[in-house]
């Protein structure tokens, strides 16, 4: 709202200052979260080009991007419960972005697996899919995320209407599949995958309890 003082420079500054606290919170949080979510990727690139990924860079990149994808997915799943907890809508405004970050890291993870780890060898990839349950679980999770990422635009939300919401409930299944993927591939130290499993159960449990009420 423009002040009655109209063009006066002084009073419009006062007006802007009065609006500032509201403006700051609303406009800064999204770029801030975006920056926080992209930083690990920049670190990975830096580590890659400075040669500090260690003697087995393919495994290192695969592990790192996989862990990041799971973390982003869990964060995106935590935003709806957070809205209820904080009685504030700002968390859900970050949902699309965090979901897309989860897909981004998953895409990089899968690309590294296919291009660098398996070098696009169809026989090796097929054997992995057929014989390793953790590869199948990871594949299920990624395949579910593809249509979700593709229908994340405002236009698609509008066009799909109710079907959009049912489609995007697929993220619960993707979350379960990706945590199973991690539990099944871990050797010896299961702490990290089990922490993710516990977080996922809390996040899905919250929705289940709400559904029952």
């Amino acid at each position: 709202m423009r002040s009655s003082a109209g063009g006066s420079g002084m009073s419009s500054t006062v007006e802007a200052l009065r609006r500032w606290p509201v403006l700051r919170w609303q406009s800064v949080i999204k770029p801030l979260v975006f920056t926080a979510a992209i930083i690990p990727f920049l670190f990975l690139l830096q580590a890659l080009f400075s040669g500090s990924l260690g003697p087995n860079p393919i495994d290192e990149l695969t592990d790192q991007t996989g862990t990041l994808a799971i973390r982003m997915l869990l964060i995106s799943l935590a935003l709806t419960p957070l809205r209820g907890l904080l009685k504030n809508t700002w968390p859900v405004k970050l949902r699309r972005m965090m979901g897309l970050f989860a897909f981004f890291y998953a895409f990089v993870h899968v690309s590294i697996y296919l291009l660098l780890d398996q070098q696009l060898d169809p026989a090796a990839i097929w054997e992995d899919l057929a014989e390793r349950p953790y590869i199948m679980a990871g594949t299920v999770a990624f395949v579910i995320l593809i249509p979700l990422a593709m229908t994340s635009t405002r236009g698609m939300v509008r066009r799909l209407g109710r079907r959009w919401a049912s489609l995007h409930r697929g993220v619960y299944l993707a979350g379960a599949a990706v945590v199973v993927h991690y539990v099944w591939l871990a050797k010896g130290d299961l702490i990290e995958p089990f922490v993710y499993l516990a977080i996922l159960m809390v996040l899905l449990g919250y929705r289940f309890v709400r559904l029952l009420r």
Partner: protein, 321 residues
């Protein structure tokens, strides 16, 4: 799993060897790329102490390209020091290796507590370049320094009831990995007597002509090149001659996944990942070319089948895996 945040602070150590110049240069490039030199912490890995005795070259050695010392000493599985590949070098200083003694007991004529010096003294030190195949589907080529385990076994005169040899790793309560029960400590391994006496089986006290770094299992470790790496137990404090097959750590942790024998076998997949191929970790660490290195086929018995096949004649190695 290494955290991305840790990674920025990690940089492989400075090692003085024939590749010193190249590595220094890489390091400088790394610093430049990192922008902030202060971010690049040098892990505490002192320059290795050269072994001060003559080293005999062994005819068992492979002529394959050696993995760099940096690779061999910065990418390790030594769960007492942590489960991340970089943890053993990071926490290497925490392992106390002086004084060191090895308890030798069980079915033998000369049991006792032997100091490290007692153990090593009578043996001529060889250099043996072996392939090392990890169950995680990567491999290295490592120049070990040490001697045949058989030579030590003969000294302590096992009796006819000694059918197996059991080994234990040191447990020091303040090691970061020991505080968590990822495995049940002490780490335990074992060999059948004929495997232990096989000429390929060695006790190592050095690599690259230098004393074994802590992260590689100082001061004394086993090397059994035809078996998955976890059989080659590190930092040995106990060697026991026993009548029954001893329990082994990974078998205790997941019996359906890790058998007692653990011979490298591309035909027998680990239930959760393939053992058909492996990634050789060899050349310069950190080079972008490492991203495009292809895997190679894993060889039966890690390529030592000719020497060791007779140990397993008539055995079903799918069952006794």
């Amino acid at each position: 799993m290494r955290d991305w945040m840790k990674m920025a602070g990690i940089r492989s150590s400075e090692i003085t060897d024939e590749k010193l110049f190249r590595q220094r240069r890489q390091l400088l490039q790394a610093s430049a790329a990192a922008g902030v030199t202060g971010l690049i912490a040098m892990p505490a890995m002192a320059e290795g102490k050269a072994l001060n005795q003559p080293i005999v070259k062994s005819s068992f050695s492979t002529d394959e390209e050696l993995s760099t010392k940096e690779t061999v000493t910065t990418y390790n599985n030594f769960y007492e020091l942590g489960t991340d590949k970089g943890d053993p070098v990071r926490y290497a200083d925490r392992l106390q290796t002086e004084p060191w003694s090895v308890t030798i007991d069980g079915e033998c004529a000369k049991p006792g507590v032997y100091t490290l010096e007692d153990v090593l003294k009578p043996h001529a030190i060889e250099e043996r370049i072996y392939r090392m195949r990890c169950v995680e589907a990567w491999s290295m080529v490592i120049p070990w320094n040490g001697f045949s385990l058989a030579d030590l076994i003969k000294r302590v005169e096992p009796n006819s009831r000694a059918k197996y040899v059991a080994f234990e790793t040191v447990v020091q309560d303040d090691l970061p990995g020991v505080k968590r029960n990822v495995l049940e400590w002490p780490y335990r391994e074992g060999l059948r007597m004929d495997e232990a006496l096989h000429p390929l089986t060695m006790l190592a006290m050095g690599i690259y002509g230098e004393e074994l770094p802590n992260q590689n299992g100082a001061p004394l470790r086993l090397v059994v090149p035809w078996k998955y790496g976890y059989k080659s137990i590190k930092s040995i404090v106990r060697i026991s001659f026993v009548e029954e097959q001893p329990v082994t750590s990974w078998n205790m942790s997941a019996p359906q996944e890790y058998g007692f024998y653990s011979n490298v076998n591309p035909e027998r997949s680990h239930p959760r990942w393939s053992q058909a191929r492996e990634r050789r970790l060899s050349g310069d660490t950190g080079g972008l070319s490492a991203l495009f290195a292809s895997k190679s086929d894993t060889l039966y018995m890690n390529g030592y089948a000719e020497q060791v096949a007779e140990l397993y004649q008539g055995m079903d190695l799918q069952k006794f895996h």
